[in-house]
Subunit: 88 residues, 2 copies
């Protein structure tokens, strides 16, 4: 949970998640969307993976990343608990 919040604190990683929300993408296709080196994007993807916000699967030469909404829902649960009637 803490890993998820930390992962979400970076704008590049949030944008990656938004891209993956639309459709699964290879690491290279993701990197193409940013003015950041591929190794740096790979690093971001690894952080997202450790937080279990994304999953990856090799398909031939490519590694395809997809979003994992389960952890996202857990994080949203935190917000829901927070927004519940004040003082509960």
């Amino acid at each position: 949970m803490n890993d998820a919040f930390k992962a979400l604190s970076d704008p590049t990683r949030r944008k990656i998640l938004q891209l993956l929300k639309e459709k699964d993408l290879s690491a290279g296709d993701i990197a193409d969307q940013f003015d950041i080196s591929k190794p740096s994007i790979s690093h971001h993807l690894n952080i997202l993976k450790q937080a279990r916000l994304v999953q990856d699967e090799r398909q031939g030469q490519n590694i395809i990343y997809s979003i994992n909404l389960t952890v996202m829902q857990e994080a949203m649960g935190w917000f829901l608990g927070m927004i519940g009637t004040k003082g509960d």
Copy 2:
């Protein structure tokens, strides 16, 4: 929005928000809940304040902090947009 996500990435700050969800507290009362120096807590409070996740108001010698749920709801909106049907 980015400030909010960054502020939420620290577990101490998330715990502060949970305390303030229960009731408004002075800076000192908040600091008493942690094994962290008062100046450090003050620093965390300032980050929460800049992200507009909390508000403060002086009451005599004390400064009372309260939670601002508006920004929290905005952050939750981000999650909702994320969790909507994949590919929309």
